[in-house]
């Protein structure tokens, strides 16, 4: 049973939504610390540009496309949920999950190729950052997709529709992180 506390909204927005914003604030500082460190190191080591040459911009761009599109389906799911159409919302969330799966599969393929070519996490500190930052992001993608499956299953039965928006916001945040990772890791050469 949900406590009465959860249903109050003295701050003007629903509790779940408020909590999601705080989660994102804490995520900003985690990624901020990691990417800030990366930028400092990158600017200190001009030679890393030669390493960055070996990243595959096309795969990165394709994954950006996949994430942007999955964000679109997530926000459309939210739209459907707002109209009370749980089935449609669930369907669109499943599309988003397919996007997440595509992203991970492409990433796995990309990493496999790179590791086969000797670019491992310990071969150079650029690659250490490459795998750590993208890996941390990929973990967020996976976690978000799993949560989304639960939300979608509920939504399909018309339950907890407000969660569609919450998982969507989280998903857009994951998208934004990638929007910055893409130029940082792939384009800047």
């Amino acid at each position: 049973m949900r406590p009465i506390a959860t249903t109050r909204s003295a701050a003007g927005i629903p509790t779940g939504l408020l909590a999601v914003w705080w989660v994102l604030a804490s995520e900003i500082v985690i990624f901020g610390g990691l990417l800030g460190s990366y930028v400092m190191y990158r600017l200190a080591h001009d030679a890393w540009a030669a390493q960055a040459e070996a990243t595959n911009t096309w795969i990165g761009a394709f994954n950006t496309f996949v994430l942007l599109t999955s964000s679109l389906t997530a926000v459309l799911a939210h739209q459907a949920a707002e109209h009370g159409d749980g089935k449609l919302a669930a369907k669109r969330l499943y599309y988003t999950c397919i996007g997440a799966a595509t992203f991970i599969v492409v990433k796995a393929f990309e990493w496999t190729t790179e590791i086969q070519h000797g670019m491992t996490i310990s071969s150079n500190t650029f690659w250490s950052f490459y795998y750590t930052a993208a890996g941390l992001h990929a973990l967020h993608v996976i976690a978000g997709a799993i949560l989304m499956l639960f939300v979608a299953a509920d939504a399909a039965k018309g339950r907890e529709l407000h969660r569609v928006e919450l998982i969507g916001i989280y998903w857009h945040f994951v998208d934004i992180v990638w929007i910055f990772l893409f130029p940082l890791l792939y384009i800047a050469k």
Partner: protein
């Protein structure tokens, strides 16, 4: 401790006694039970940390002695003991007790809610915390022993088993710390959301008790500062275990980066545990001096100013650690600036006493001692924040004594103040005042006899984390050892005095006078619930009509005016 849970007719679980116990105490989502889980785990860890301090203080004062109940201390063990003492006391005692336990207990009760907004996440938070405790304790038993590179874990020492000889211990330590952070992130989001969204009808921002404000500000501080260190922990873990070179200078890494990541968290962390302790003090001082808090908004503003400023001072821990000397100027200025709001906060508490009607009960004694002792910690910090003086004092026992004069008031005095004050509410029984005062005086006097000698030793050149000072001719004199022995003996006295507290708790639980709802005639909402409050806290959720500190309002018969009293 069967007293503190009122039977709940809704869930009549007559099936199995053990299952009921597990459900009630281990698997509960009730914020009060989670408070007890955090508090007892924290106190258990405090016993371990306290025992460790006894062992290594014995070695420092009487080098080579066979420590009773332990045995001989080797240099590696010594490092492991001091590291574990530091990390346990901060991460597994101060944090769980002050933020998690008091936050869990007080926030829903004081804002007039029936529980946290996310009870299951609250339970998960404790379970992750418990896991972190288990991981940390397991590091004592692995090959090589626990991590021994100080709680700051500076690489390259912490990054390589070749340097620290504790490859497993250092990784387990890091994992435990990271898990602990996750636990408090979950808990913190719960606290913040609850306090923001679930206040009782009528409770405006300036009607929130200071302790709730401060715990929330502390949670925000924690959340905003810990991120870079979580990222750093991942990087260090990879350095330790899969051969990356984030902090390895031979591969383009920079060990100084870790110091920044660590202290960007580490300094706000001081305020993370300080603010709840000050909040507890505010509640107690107003209650036992029957006074309105002097300048509620001033207190709040100083806390926010402190919180923001605390993000700009971190590098004063690194003045001589290899950072660019020009940066030291900026951080000296910001560090001295932060003394202003904190000093102002202390002035406010002192001013609150003026014109009061002070009862020196046990909780009040603890609260007053907090201010008196914390002032010492505060003023000695100026020596360390001023770059020129820090050249000498850095990494001496002066630093150690300074931060024990802040952390001891926070973690021990603040906790005892809170526990003795809310004990009647938590367990429905009054505590024994005689035993409580005896415990108070022995603890406080012994505490000063521990750390004043250490101030002198620090000024005389004792540097920290030294296994045997006989290796340093300048520090091997008998007058030095006299001071070290004095501190050690005082420590033993203080640790033994804690038995009094546990005896007091035991006696009070068995034979204590029954506490009514509001034994101290206090205003805040938790005193309007039953003692102990049942699951769901209030029979009828309260409505708030006024601020929390309306004591001795002229023209009223009572000298208190509960927040939820309509008139």
């Amino acid at each position: 401790m069967a007293e503190h849970a009122t039977p709940h007719p809704a869930h009549a679980h007559e099936a199995h006694h053990e299952e009921g116990w597990v459900k009630k105490y281990l698997w509960s989502t009730d914020h009060k039970i989670i408070c007890f889980q955090y508090m007892f785990t924290g106190m258990f860890m405090a016993l371990i940390g306290g025992f460790f301090s006894y062992v290594f203080r014995m070695q420092t004062a009487f080098p080579g002695v066979e420590v009773p109940f332990y045995g001989l201390v080797s240099a590696a063990e010594y490092n492991g003991l001091i590291t574990s003492h530091g990390s346990i006391m901060i991460f597994w005692v101060a944090m769980p007790v002050l933020i998690a336990a008091f936050g869990n207990y007080l926030i829903p009760l004081m804002i007039g809610a029936d529980d946290m907004v996310f009870p299951k996440i609250n339970r998960l938070s404790y379970q992750i915390f418990l896991l972190s405790v288990i991981v940390l304790l397991s590091s004592f038993f692995v090959e090589g022993g626990p991590f021994g590179g100080a709680w700051t874990a500076y690489p390259p020492l912490s990054a390589s088993g070749a340097y620290n000889n504790t490859p497993l211990g250092s990784s387990l330590w890091l994992v435990a710390v990271a898990l602990e952070f996750v636990a408090f992130l979950l808990g913190g989001i719960n606290f913040i959301t609850t306090a923001m969204n679930s206040r009782a009808p009528g409770m405006k921002l300036y009607d929130i008790p200071i302790v709730v404000w401060f715990i929330v500000i502390a949670s925000i501080l924690f959340m905003a500062s810990v991120g870079p260190l979580i990222a750093g922990a991942v990087m260090l873990f990879f350095d330790q275990n899969i051969g990356t070179g984030f902090f390895d200078p031979a591969r383009g890494g920079d060990p100084v980066l870790w110091q920044h990541l660590f202290w960007f968290f580490g300094h706000p962390e001081v305020y993370v545990v300080l603010l709840p302790a000050i909040g507890i003090t505010a509640e107690i001082i107003t209650t036992f001096s029957r006074k309105k808090l002097f300048g509620y908004k001033v207190v709040l503003n100083t806390a926010i100013a402190t919180a923001v400023l605390s993000f700009t001072v971190w590098a004063h821990h690194q003045f001589i650690a290899g950072i660019d000397p020009r940066m030291a100027h900026i951080f000296t200025i910001t560090t001295l600036l932060i003394s202003v709001p904190i000093a102002e906060m202390m002035f406010v508490f002192i001013a609150t006493l003026y014109g009061g009607s002070i009862t020196l009960s046990t909780p009040m004694l603890w609260a007053l001692a907090f201010i008196g002792e914390f002032l010492i910690g505060g003023v000695t910090g100026i020596f360390l924040g001023a770059s020129g003086a820090d050249i000498y004092f850095h990494d001496t026992y002066f630093v150690l004594a300074h931060f024990h004069y802040t952390f001891f008031p926070i973690a021990v005095i603040g906790t005892f103040a809170g526990v003795t004050y809310w004990f009647p509410k938590m367990f429905g029984k009054m505590m024994n005042e005689t035993l409580g005062k005896l415990h108070f005086w022995i603890t406080i006097i012994a505490f000063n006899f521990i750390f004043i000698p250490l101030f002198i030793l620090g000024a005389a050149g004792d540097h920290r984390r030294i296994y045997d000072y006989q290796n340093f001719p300048q520090l091997a004199g008998p007058e030095y050892f006299f001071l070290r022995e004095m501190a050690t003996i005082a420590l033993i006295v203080m640790l033994l005095a804690q038995v009094l507290f546990f005896v007091n708790v035991f006696i009070s639980l068995r034979n204590g006078k029954k506490a009514g709802r509001n034994p101290f005639k206090s205003n805040t909402l938790e005193w309007q619930a039953d003692s102990p409050p049942p699951h769901g806290n209030f029979a009828e959720l309260p409505t708030v009509y006024r601020g929390p500190y309306e004591y001795s309002v002229p023209g009223r018969a009572d000298d208190y005016w509960p927040q939820n009293a309509a008139s």
